[in-house]
């Protein structure tokens, strides 16, 4: 079973604050689910890789208002000032890890 620390580490990597008492049930659920989906490790991976259907789809880099009007997009900002989105300083001392 995943340890408490492993679950807390995953939550930190995923930028999720977990509720009190949630860690224990997540230890159990995540371990059960990983055990089940781990069956896939029995699949033999054939050596020829990349024989997929994936292909690049290119287009001209032409600006277009595909996401809607600027003023409507600005309305969704949590905090707006003079048409700009106000965010916290990205580089600062209090970032853990």
């Amino acid at each position: 079973m995943l340890s408490r620390e492993e679950v807390l580490n995953l939550a930190a990597l995923a930028r999720l604050k977990l509720g009190e008492g949630e860690v224990e049930s997540l230890q159990k659920d995540i371990s059960n689910i990983l055990e089940y989906v781990g069956q896939v490790s029995a699949v033999s991976v054939k050596s020829e890789q990349g024989s997929t259907l994936l292909k690049n789809v290119m287009r001209e880099d032409v600006p277009a208002a595909t996401l809607g009007k600027r003023e409507e997009l600005i309305k969704a900002f949590p905090k707006e000032e003079n048409g700009y989105n106000v965010v916290r300083k990205i580089i600062q001392k209090d970032e853990p890890r």
Binding site: L13, K17, V37, V40, K46
Partner: protein
């Protein structure tokens, strides 16, 4: 516009029970108006939605939309969907309206543009009645993961409607809408269609543009119709399909001609465990029905199916964790402040996402992390490639693959509280998403549980681009 729900005479109050095809004919013949159709749906919504919780919001301007559709018709326009009232899943954007994906993190998010499917439906003149409930971010299979309460099954309100498009399926099954749009990531259109006794159709991957669909698992997601009949599903599909420059995965279908499709493969080994006997009995009699109409049945094996669920869920977790990383409280959506930037993210996401969403994000983070990536994600994509190849080969010797849609009828609300138990219900539906094949769920009968009759669905899968063949065989059932 009048906001009263005045009764219309001459049995017109049951207009909501018409199929789209029937209503369309009556509209074209001038026997009814779109306003009358919408009034009938709104009356039914008022009656049933409080207990079913299929609609998260009923649009206040539905009557105005209908009136403008009637005006368009009066001016000479015609389209089979002109004036037809539809319900739209809450993860499909309509400009100026809330789209929350049934999540608290997007509870007050207002869409700034139309999804491509919405643009196409607006051009056709469809009326949008409201937005329907779903599992949060389309993660689940019962609509129990909605942040805004579960959707109940119209056939038995102690049971789930299925999911993740549970609201759309319940709305159509109860006559609150003539048809609906859902989205299908691992069965999210077909599963609730089976549980509610309606038709659910997942197109070939790439057939319908996902621009404006809130992404769950981008390599699986497809938008599909939920309707009362196969004809209706075909009608909506033909309206929304096509290549779109805003979705680079969308493609033009090059083969819309139906050959003489008569061979149905049945993967018998897959049916030996977990399928309820009564479901199996209905399955056998629908096979018999097809045989009587000249279809040939063949047993078939699909060895890689053993890994389908595992591969599906690993890829699901991985893509969910990356797709949902965009919700961070910085540009839009719920934004909560903490002591640091890290806390801002963790609080907004921790409190904005529900339990199942958080669980999948963490599982995705795990399977993508250094040291585990090869064992999980690497193997899952390998299994997916093999399964796809197997399907391609199989569909050279048969035209359709038939299974039940779900192994059992709708379960009781709260019955599957263990997340893994709920995942296992998706055994028959996830393969079409792994392989990109089109698949349809069609009602195949009713089973009785505690004195209530519950519907179960038949699933047919066809080769890529063969939706026309699916509709053709579907109409015979």
């Amino acid at each position: 516009m009048s906001t009263s729900t005045k009764k219309i005479s001459n049995g017109v109050s049951s207009l909501n029970e018409l199929s789209i095809t029937e209503a369309s004919k009556k509209l074209a013949a001038g026997e009814i108006t779109s306003v009358q159709l919408v009034e009938a749906c709104l009356a039914e919504i008022e009656k049933r939605n409080p207990s079913l919780n299929a609609f998260l919001e009923v649009f206040a301007d539905a009557r105005e939309q209908a009136a403008s559709a009637d005006l368009r018709r009066a001016k000479g326009e015609s389209h089979p969907l002109l004036g037809i009232p539809l319900a739209i899943k809450d993860n499909i954007l309509i400009e100026g309206r809330t789209a929350s994906a049934a999540s608290k993190i997007l509870e007050h998010y207002v869409a700034t543009y139309d999804a491509t499917v919405i643009k196409k439906l607006k051009d056709a003149g469809a009326v949008f009645l409201g937005r329907t409930n779903m599992d949060e971010f389309a993660l689940g299979g019962s609509t129990e993961n909605s942040a805004f309460g579960v959707t109940k099954n119209p056939h038995d309100e102690t049971r789930v409607a299925g999911g993740t498009s549970g609201g759309s399926a319940a709305a159509v099954a109860s006559g609150m809408a003539l048809g609906a749009l859902g989205s299908d990531t691992g069965g999210s259109v077909r599963n609730p269609a089976s549980f509610c006794g309606v038709v659910g159709f997942k197109p070939t991957y790439g057939a319908v543009s996902r621009s404006g669909l809130i992404a769950a698992v981008s390599s699986f997601d497809q938008i599909g119709p939920i309707t009362k009949t196969v004809e209706d599903a075909e009608l909506i599909f033909n309206t929304i399909l096509g290549k779109d420059s805003l979705d680079s995965t969308s493609t033009e279908n090059s083969k819309l001609k139906i050959e003489n499709y008569k061979k149905i493969g049945v993967p018998r080994t897959l049916l030996t465990k977990g399928v309820e006997p009564e479901v199996l009995a209905h399955f056998e009699s629908s096979l018999e029905k097809m045989r009587a109409q000249g279809y040939e049945l063949v047993d078939m094996g699909l060895p890689s199916l053993d890994y389908a669920l595992s591969a599906y869920y690993i890829i699901n977790f991985a893509e969910v964790s990356t797709n949902l990383s965009r919700f961070d409280g910085v540009r839009y959506g719920l934004s909560l402040k903490g002591e640091s930037l890290f806390d801002d993210y963790a609080r907004s996401r921790g409190e904005g996402f529900g339990a199942e969403t958080r669980r999948r994000i963490m599982l995705g983070t795990y399977v993508l992390s250094t040291g585990y990536y090869d064992a999980y994600y690497g193997k899952a994509t390998a299994a997916r490639t093999q399964l796809r190849k197997e399907f391609e080969d199989a569909l050279k010797s048969v035209d359709f693959i038939a299974t039940p849609t779900m192994p059992y009828p709708a379960w009781k609300v709260g019955e599957k509280s263990d997340p893994l138990a709920a995942y296992l219900a998706d055994i028959f539906t996830v393969t079409a998403n792994l392989t990109g094949n089109p698949a349809i769920s069609i009602p195949m009968g009713m089973v009785e549980r505690e004195g209530k009759r519950l519907p179960v669905g038949l699933q047919l899968t066809a080769a890529h681009g063969d939706e026309a063949a699916l509709f053709a065989v579907g109409k015979l059932l």
